[in-house]
């Protein structure tokens, strides 16, 4: 790999690389442990498939399909905020965070996101699961970007002894770090945004903001069906396990899963027909009754203005730094 003349190169002994790698592995294991601990109740549930399959127990905690609004009954500044203004202003704020280009401002955004999760009285394991979901993508960026970012003028390259074919571009690392910070800041903001009012209210607020009625209804219906089919899937899965199916890397697994998906589709189609007939029988005419009234007070507008101003200030600081 040829080096450009204006690039600063730092030579480090191989032991640094090993140290860094082992630190990475340790952090990874710690995160994994943490997640395992959080999802412990899920695995204890699935280890005994027969006991839970046909009872359809709604009381059982389901960790794979989190509900967004399980903390909507609490009370905080976010809960007392008119959902329409909350959605609109936080959406603008989120886009402002997404356009940040410097690491320090991204850190501020992350801190304010952590602060607002705390202010919304939402336990931190909820947003942690969101962060974990992004882990794969962000980890890939953190790993690949330093290695593949092309060297430009003024870059700092880190080269390890005996491994001259690998160059770590510090700029690539910073870029990946910036993305991680921004993505985490936004993911954390999703909790105050969605978790502080019941999901149906949030969707009604979206409808008032001009999102077409049909789309809102579809989101509500789909959201409902997801839980229905997740139960269906668990039941089918228990049946498959009872007949001796084991997940392996072979064509048999793929064939079974193909049939599984096909069966899921057949079930879902048959179900729709019945559900649709039932809905029509109850007077469904393409619209859902609108019984929720929103009221925007002065303090709602003040909160909205606060977040939009915060977003604009962040972007301003970011550009002028």
């Amino acid at each position: 790999m040829e080096m450009k003349p204006s690039v600063e190169i730092i030579q480090l002994p191989l032991s640094f690389l090993l140290l860094g790698l082992s630190a990475l592995v340790v952090t990874w294991l710690l995160c994994f442990r943490l997640l395992k601990a959080f999802s412990a109740s899920k695995s204890s549930g699935s280890s005994s498939p027969t006991s839970q399959s046909y009872t359809g127990s709604e009381t059982e905690k389901d960790w794979t399909l989190p509900s967004m609004d399980s903390h909507a009954h609490r009370d905080s500044l976010f809960h007392r905020w008119d959902p329409r203004i909350k959605l609109l202003s936080l959406f603008v704020y989120i886009f402002c965070v997404a356009s940040i280009t410097q690491v320090p401002t991204a850190c501020i955004a992350l801190l304010s996101a952590i602060g607002s999760v705390a202010a919304a009285h939402i336990p931190f394991r909820h947003p942690l699961r969101r962060l974990a979901a992004m882990g794969g993508f962000l980890g890939m960026l953190l790993l690949i970007m330093p290695l593949t970012a092309p060297a430009k003028q003024g870059d700092t390259l880190v080269v390890f002894q005996h491994l001259s074919f690998m160059t770590f571009n510090f700029r690539g690392f910073l870029l990946a770090l910036l993305i991680c910070l921004k993505a985490s800041a936004i993911a954390l903001m999703m909790e105050p945004l969605l978790g502080t009012s019941p999901f149906s209210i949030t969707i009604h607020a979206l409808a008032r903001l001009g999102v077409p009625q049909q789309v809102c209804q579809m989101i509500l219906l789909t959201h409902r069906y997801i839980f229905v089919f997740f139960h269906e899937m668990k039941r089918m899965n228990a049946g498959m396990k009872a007949r001796g199916f084991r997940n392996k890397t072979n064509i048999e697994t793929v064939r079974t899963l193909g049939n599984f998906v096909g069966m899921l589709m057949v079930h879902s189609f048959e179900r729709t027909q019945r559900v649709y007939e039932a809905m029509t029988a109850r007077g469904y005419n393409g619209t859902l009754p609108d019984y929720i009234s929103f009221q925007a007070l002065q303090q709602d507008w003040i909160k909205g203005a606060f977040w939009i101003i915060l977003g604009v200030v962040l972007v301003g600081m970011d550009r002028l730094w």
Partner: protein, 218 residues
């Protein structure tokens, strides 16, 4: 693989939002009111299928099935995929909320194209359907990987390496998806063939189930 928040430039994200809203409107206009619950159901099936993990050596990949959604819903597939993406983002943070447009285009456009391709190349026979299912299943992943890579390339030269690796990572997924789609299509052909006849006119969607004589397969 969905793009997270803050990866793409804001202009690209907003542009993708605009384009996907346009495609969504076109796709939704083709669907009728009485199809809405049906689309909602396929969307949730699509969503739930993305929770199915296929073991692949030491790791595992989850199903994407954009191809199958296209096969089942035709022109309404984009609506379905976009809704699925929205809910995945809201519930799981699979894909960021600012990248919704990008992710919807990535999966939805490939689902639409797969629907067209499936209809064009499926024959009247079982083997023709299975072949078409395999092709569209693989094609769906290939197309979404290519769209993903294209979007990453727009973010600048620094992302080219990531885009390339994202393409390679999808290669084994293509094979699995092709196989799963082929088996699913074969299953549906035997069990409920009228589902596969869903055409690009929305009327078929509603009339086909429950009427054994309505399918025009030979």
């Amino acid at each position: 693989m969905h793009i997270a928040d803050g990866v793409l430039p804001t202009s690209v994200a907003i542009g993708a939002f605009a384009v996907s809203i346009a495609v969504f409107a076109w796709s939704a206009r083709k669907a009728k009111t009485e199809d809405l619950p049906k689309i909602a159901v396929v969307t949730s099936a699509f969503f739930v299928a993305s929770l199915i993990h296929v073991p692949l050596g030491p790791t595992s990949v989850h199903l994407l099935i954009p191809g199958l959604v296209g096969i089942l819903l035709g022109s309404s597939a984009f609506v379905s995929v976009a809704l699925g993406i929205i809910l995945q983002s809201l519930l799981f943070q699979f894909g960021g909320i600012t990248a919704l447009g990008v992710n919807a285009l990535m999966m939805g456009v490939s689902a639409l194209l797969c629907g067209y391709v499936f209809r064009a190349i499926k024959g009247p026979s079982l083997s023709g359907h299975v072949f078409a299912g395999a092709i569209t299943g693989g094609l769906g992943v290939v197309l979404s990987a290519i769209i993903l890579a294209l979007f990453l390339v727009t973010s600048g030269e620094d992302f080219w390496g990531v885009a390339k690796i994202a393409l390679y990572v999808h290669l084994p997924v293509v094979l699995i998806e092709a196989a799963v789609s082929a088996f699913s299509v074969s299953f549906l052909y035997k069990v409920k063939p009228d589902l596969l006849d869903i055409s690009f006119s929305a009327t078929n969607l509603n009339s086909s189930p429950k009427e054994p004589g309505s399918s025009e397969r030979s």
